[in-house]
Amino acid sequence: MKRRARREKDRIFKLFLVLALLAGVAALLLLLEEVLRKGLPWLDFRFLTSFPSRFPEQAGIKSALAGTLWLLGLTAMFAIPVGVGAAVYLQEFAGRNRPTAFLQLNISNLAGVPSIVYGILGLAVFVRALALGRSVLAGALTMSLLVLPIIIVAAQEAMRAVPGSLRDAAFALGATRWQAVRRVVLPAALPGILTGIILALSRAIGETAPLIMIGALTFVPFVPAGPLDAFTVLPIQIFNWTSRPREEFRLIAAAGIIVLLGVLLTMNAGAVWLRNRYQRRSES
């Protein structure tokens, strides 16, 4: 019967979907297993608190971890206010006209520009023209440019999803545009904006190319004491270790990857917690 054939098709399609899902999960699990098996034995307190070394048993990740945290902190400091500000302007204040549409198109395109291009820009503008040198500040500014489009697009999307009836209500009560944005639109859009920020910072933590371009170091036996110090970050350190000839370095690279994943997960968990807390507060 026709109906049976249809059901059969349905089942086959479902099977295909499950297989597609499994392929992704399996690859991830394999990768994770490999990394954990190799890296866990090397991951200890000494590893986290030691500087890199020529001897694998003395090598640690302290400077790279510190560099990554510096970079993330500074990037968040620049990219979040500027990104959210730009999104608020575009979404709530800018007129619906050609210049706005042009800007909008450009921002969407910027999100797709290869990261190495941002590295070249950072090298020319921040390292050379502004004479910031190969500092963590120059790195963070470059990274901010890289993640700005992600934050802007996500924040705009979140604000667009706030019902127009809420804006109307605010205006009808005599609120100015800024008051409506500040007291109604932004709080309602905050969970979506936070999601965008998580995505952006997750991207920043894993980027290597632009930082190599602006001259982040690969052997840093110190922790940056200020924004103008030289630095390295976790992915660069990991890359550096994997390219060394001694087998043990590959194992500590795996340990480095675990640390990187740990930072990423902690950050995401923190943002999810923040988001849930805010959601509950705005509903209760």
Partner: protein, 253 residues
């Protein structure tokens, strides 16, 4: 007919366009103080758009254009000197669908006073506003709870309380009961009867029984023009224009 001092709001040769669409065509109409004025007419006749002229809400719609005057206590609210937020502060609005903010009941009512820089006792103002909207008894012990947890009818009365909290003179109501069940509708209609003691009310409604029940004056709009305007009793019993008669007897619309 009402004298000028009895007239709180008035439209004078009012035209409204959305883009090239001519929505309101030369409307002239006076709104009497402390009365309920109903605007009726078929969908798309411009009654909601007309209502939005009174607190300059049409400005928020891109490509809208207003010509003619709206007097409020003798002053033209479209005068470039006049601040739109000031107009909306004195002419409140309740919308078709209840639209409470995703905040607590208290913060919803306190929103208007806060944005307008109210200096008095906020708690007292919130209580008075909720009492006037006949909601206080139902919510006084849970002001900190989310407004979204209220029923639809309660939400709409909360929106009324929220509009009253900025202490307006006029209340604009855009089909305030169209999303509510009959019991909630009856409550809001009773409330309208009480509110006209203090406020002048303009209500847009689809429901002709409702217009007949709650209003003192009724205006019938058709395709952006006023067909007939007068005492509600007269309009519903002895309409002068045949089109009004056709509409209220349900022949179209």
């Amino acid at each position: 007919m009402s004298s000028t001092s009895n007239q709180v709001l008035g439209a004078d040769g009012l035209n409204l366009w959305y883009g090239t669409h001519h929505v309101l065509k030369g409307i002239t109409l006076g709104i009497t103080r402390h009365r309920v004025t109903a605007l009726i007419g078929p969908s798309g006749c411009g009654k909601s758009s007309f209502l939005r002229c009174f607190n300059r809400m049409n400005e928020l719609i891109p490509e809208s254009r207003v010509e003619g005057r709206i007097h409020f206590n003798g002053r033209d609210i479209n005068d470039p000197e006049v601040d739109a937020t000031e107009v909306r502060h004195r002419i409140g609005m309740v919308f078709q669908k209840p639209n409470p903010f995703p905040k607590s009941i208290f913060d919803n009512v306190a929103f208007g006073p806060r944005v307008n820089g109210y200096r008095g006792d906020l708690g007292e103002l919130v209580e008075t506003s909720l009492r006037r909207a006949a909601l206080w008894d139902e919510v006084h012990d849970r002001l900190g709870q989310s407004a979204l947890a209220l029923s639809g009818g309660q939400q709409q009365r909360l929106c009324i309380a929220r509009a009253l909290a900025v202490e307006p003179e006029v209340l604009l109501m855009d089909e305030p009961c169209s999303a509510l069940d009959p019991a909630s509708t009856a409550k809001i209609e009773d409330l309208i009867g009480e509110l006209k003691e203090r406020y002048s009310i303009i209500i847009v409604t689809h429901n002709m029984q409702q217009a007949a029940r709650v209003s003192d004056q009724t205006a019938f709009l058709l395709e952006g023009e006023i067909v007939e305007y007068g005492r509600t009793g007269g309009i519903f019993t002895r309409p002068e224009d045949p089109r009004t008669e056709d509409y209220i007897t349900g022949r179209f619309g």
